[in-house]
């Protein structure tokens, strides 16, 4: 079976794929819908971008909306996002609400003439994404999904190493996330079930976009649209009725390149890692405890290469150990990539250029998630 992610017939339709050209917005007026945990990260990042004006925050809870507005110096707070959109004081809207609400809210924002930055997953299916994209394209507006982890420092370092040919031609990519969320916390609360349990992939749907865009990003560009042998084992090892799935083991082929996505709610320690193996070495980036390791052919020849690699990785471990402690003191979190992602995205708004995450990135990501969930691909 050969499955196509990205659907070339659609991709070739230039009026659909092309990011609409827009006039630069020198001082974007930005509003945020959703005052939850992720909004804190967006607002922190936005405050650091020159020229951005925070004009509104909306949440169903008046207390949370007001609290957030006061905390981050947002000009006004609302409990009805439509009222906020109609103030005429908004250029860009960040949609940071639960995934199931994205379609309605993003559509309303676009139809009201606002550019949209939306948390992952942008839509619950590739068709849903394309519908929204059509609206954005018809209105000449930007629509951008948050792919923040692509912009974390370890990922960027790994990307540079792979691009420089340090590990040769890419042969295998693995994206892995471990989040011990069954033990307790908001996702494990039986009395107040988290809305993400209702998503097609259950709670894993909250995180699958990260794994998917990271995997796709490290696949060779000419292979990203031609995947086959997609197989996904969605499991609920922990049982019970709350979690639909708590484990995913998915494999695919992109030409001769192997891809694997792993997600577990039951392991320890928490981790988000991307590992790339090539013809001349391997590289790995860990985002929760930031580090990058590289095993590659060294100048010392075949006898000294293992020794040099060991020394290099020992030095890396030492650096990352001290770096982790320093990061804790400096209050750095795995959301550091969000700052970079938003800065680059706003640079695009301010210059009228192309956003850093474009149609193909979002189309391939949502398309691959569809494939992973397709009943015929499940094992």
């Amino acid at each position: 079976m050969s499955l196509l992610v990205g659907h070339s017939e659609h991709s070739s339709s230039s009026h659909t794929v092309a990011t609409p050209s827009v006039l630069p917005i020198e001082q974007p007026r930005t509003a945020v819908i959703g005052g939850g945990k992720i909004s804190e990260q967006h607002l922190r990042a936005l405050r650091a971008i020159e020229g951005v004006q925070l004009t509104g925050i909306c949440d169903l809870s008046p207390a949370l909306a007001q609290f957030t507005a006061e905390r981050f110096g947002v000009a006004a707070w609302y409990t009805d996002y439509r009222a906020m959109l109609e103030t005429g004081d908004v250029d860009v809207v960040h949609v940071l609400t639960p995934p199931a609400t994205h379609n309605r809210i993003v559509r309303d924002c676009l139809e009201n003439g606002h550019h949209v930055i939306v948390e992952k997953p942008i839509a619950l299916s590739n068709a849903g994404f394309r519908d929204l994209w059509e609206v954005a394209a018809s209105k000449g507006l930007r629509l951008v999904e948050n792919h923040n982890y692509r912009f974390n420092e370890p990922v960027q370092k790994l990307e540079s190493a792979v691009a420089a040919g340090a590990i040769g031609a890419v042969e295998e990519v693995e994206a892995r996330m471990v989040l011990n969320i069954r033990e307790g916390g908001r996702y494990a609360d039986e009395n107040l079930p988290h809305p993400s349990h209702q998503l097609p992939a259950g709670v894993i749907h909250e995180f699958i976009s990260h794994l998917t865009y990271l995997l796709l990003h490290f696949l060779p560009e000419d292979k990203r649209d031609h995947m086959d042998c997609v197989r996904a084992a969605w499991r609920n090892h922990g049982g019970g009725g709350l979690f639909k799935y708590d484990d995913l083991d998915a494999r695919l082929m992109a030409g001769a390149v192997h891809g694997r996505i792993r997600f577990s709610c039951r392991q320890w320690p928490d981790s988000l890692a991307i590992t790339v193996r090539g013809t001349d070495g391997m590289g790995s980036a860990e985002l929760f405890h930031p580090s990058v390791s590289l095993v590659k052919r060294r100048a010392g020849g075949q006898h000294l290469t293992p020794l040099v690699n060991s020394l290099a990785n020992a030095a890396m471990l030492t650096r990352s150990g001290f770096g982790s402690v320093w990061g804790k003191i400096r209050n750095r979190t795995p959301y550091e990539g969000l700052n970079r992602y938003l800065r680059l995205t706003y640079n695009a708004f301010q210059s009228g250029g192309e956003p850093i995450v474009g149609f193909m990135d979002m189309d391939r990501t949502t398309g691959l998630i569809d494939e992973l969930l397709a009943p015929e691909n499940q094992i």
């Binding site: 804190e40 809870s61 008046p62 207390a63 949370l64 609290f67 916390g185 400096r330």
Partner: protein
């Protein structure tokens, strides 16, 4: 759900998790409750607030902390619990005023009882048998859970002239940190070792950490709560805690002393058998626990 209800006793809050977990479980849950009360026309509410919402940093040591004491000046300098409990109390009082409800705000000190004998005001458990005591002579504003429950019921039944009452809930005796920990330790078959750190030393450490943070990191460094002066003072500062007002207003008399409270908290409900005091009673697993 609230149809036909005469009054609500609101004890719900989230103590764990990050700011947003606590905001959801404490503040948004309260908003939803108040909306339901409005809809059902419930005319009375009792809410348990907390001592956490008072100001400590800018108060004198050994000063009197009562209902007229100032509330926290800078909630962001304190922990999530303080921030969300303050908002919760403000929401309830505003809603009660707006709707003409009877409102009793009870601010308990440290509620202790079964499974909750340890508290942040006495120190830290660094291992099952190693305790750090942050302070020595500071009185603990304890209220045993059954005493506190009686106060809550009396507040719900209060029919005095005032539509709104705000009362601190503290038992008659406020033992020192040292006395409380020694008593707790006395009930344990294997007595933990206590490492005392004097209040003055803790205060000096926190002040130094704060200075370093402000000079070298412009206040952005993240340090443990005990090294943040506003949080340290809220947990360890020696103060006095009178309970005159609640006794006069409600006629409340704490039934059990704090020593009796510890004994009752450690007793098994079924047969009076002592719970393993090194285990869940103080929130520490025995060393050989799986």
């Amino acid at each position: 759900m609230l149809e036909g209800v005469d009054g609500v006793i609101h004890l719900a809050a989230t103590k764990g998790g990050d700011l947003y977990d606590q905001f959801g479980g404490t503040v948004i849950a309260t908003e939803n409750l108040l909306a339901a009360m409005r809809e059902a026309g419930v005319p009375r509410i009792v809410v348990t607030s907390s001592f956490a919402i008072y100001e400590y940093l800018h108060r004198w040591s050994w000063g009197c902390l009562d209902e007229d004491s100032p509330l926290v000046c800078n909630p962001e300098s304190r922990d999530e619990y303080c921030q969300t409990k303050l908002l919760q109390e403000q929401l309830v009082r505003a809603a009660a005023k707006e709707n003409g409800w009877r409102c009793a705000v009870l601010r308990p000190g440290v509620i202790f009882g079964r499974d909750n004998l340890w508290n942040g005001r006495v120190g830290m458990q660094i291992a099952p048998r190693w305790w750090v005591r942050t302070g020595t002579f500071a009185p603990l504003p304890l209220t045993y859970v059954e005493n506190c429950a009686e106060a809550i019921v009396k507040a719900a039944e209060f029919e005095g002239e005032q539509r709104e009452i705000v009362l601190n809930v503290v038992d008659d005796e406020t033992p020192s940190q040292r006395a409380y920990l020694n008593e707790l330790r006395r009930h344990m078959p294997k007595r933990p070792r206590i490492i005392p750190i004097p209040w003055t030393a803790m205060r000096a450490l926190a002040r130094t950490a704060s200075l370093v943070n402000s000079v070298f990191f412009r206040g952005t460094a993240k340090v443990p709560g005990l090294f943040v002066p506003a949080r340290l003072h809220a947990r360890c500062k020696p103060m006095r805690y009178p309970n005159t007002r609640i006794k006069e207003t409600l006629g409340w008399e704490p039934r059990y002393t704090w020593r009796e409270g510890i004994v009752r908290a450690m007793a098994d409900t079924a047969g009076g058998e002592s719970a393993h005091p090194n285990s869940s009673a103080v929130g520490v697993k025995p060393q050989n626990a799986p």
